[in-house]
């Protein structure tokens, strides 16, 4: 079982690397988000025929995961921009484009398909949960801890 999990993890990491996620920590975050999305979708989609909340939760998770994957892929090359203004313009254009696209999809889900708003919000929150868990795990796993004065204990 552990070997299967490790193989799956390695396969996913290789696939993400080929897709352009070259930074190891960014790849780890994206991998966690992909796994979380797959778990939520697997748990919710069987109930989607009977419950609006189930597919709304899956839809929210899927939307925010696509958003984050797009942001993470572009984010790896932002600091490589020579000109600061160019970088800011590129980030802002992409941010507003993604926001407009997300707005259109959310509008369609809520108005045309009658999605339940609260599970949709819960699905969107998965990305925040992913970051917090990653941050806590990283903090707990670090061998050196800093004191309040900033010195390493």
């Amino acid at each position: 079982m552990a070997t299967l999990m490790r193989n799956l993890k390695d396969g996913l990491e290789r696939w993400l690397f080929r897709r352009g996620y070259v930074h190891p920590e960014v790849r780890e975050l994206v991998r966690n988000q992909v796994v979380l999305t797959a778990l939520v979708c697997a748990a919710c989609l069987p109930f989607s025929a009977v419950s609006t909340a189930a597919w709304s939760l899956a839809a929210g998770t899927l939307i925010i995961s696509l958003n984050f994957c797009s942001l993470a892929k572009f984010g790896q090359q932002i600091t490589g921009y020579g000109n600061k203004r160019e970088a800011i313009a590129a980030v802002l254009v992409r941010f507003y484009f993604r926001l407009a696209l997300t707005g259109f999809v959310l509008f369609g889900l809520i108005v045309w398909f009658g999605a339940s708003p609260l599970p949709l919000l819960a699905g969107i929150t998965t990305v925040v949960v992913n970051f917090l868990v990653w941050g806590v795990a990283r903090h707990a796993g670090s061998k050196t801890h800093q004191t309040l004065t900033g010195k390493e204990a």
Binding site: H23, I64, T79, T102, V127
Partner: protein, 111 residues
């Protein structure tokens, strides 16, 4: 410039919202108020998030330029920050969509 902008903005907001506020009992006025609230709320959220992303990116660019070896760590922190800000904008968007299309206050307004 900022003072003049604030004065013009607050005057316009007061003038446009006063009629709806005085006629709060009316359902149409309530819809108008909700529409105004969502438009202003989403505008403020998008502008604030855009400003936040721009400032964060500016600081990241400066940090990387000063210390290129820390680029990897700065990139991860930057992506986390940008994603947090973006999720805030999406939260605001969903709340606005809820107010506009899910009608959570419909029963209260229509009595």
């Amino acid at each position: 410039m900022r003072k003049a902008f604030m004065t013009i903005f607050s005057t316009a907001a007061l003038l446009s919202l006063a009629s709806a506020a005085f006629a709060a009992g009316d359902a149409m006025a309530a819809i108008g108020t909700i529409s105004w609230a969502t438009a202003i709320g989403m505008g403020l959220a998008a502008a604030g998030c855009g400003l936040g992303q721009g400032l964060g990116l500016k600081a990241a660019c400066e940090g990387t330029a000063r210390n290129p070896e820390a680029g990897g760590k700065i990139t991860v922190t930057l992506i986390l920050g940008l994603a947090f800000i973006e999720s805030l904008a999406i939260y605001a968007l969903v709340v606005c969509l809820i107010l506009l299309f899910a009608h959570p206050f419909a029963k209260i307004i229509t009595g």
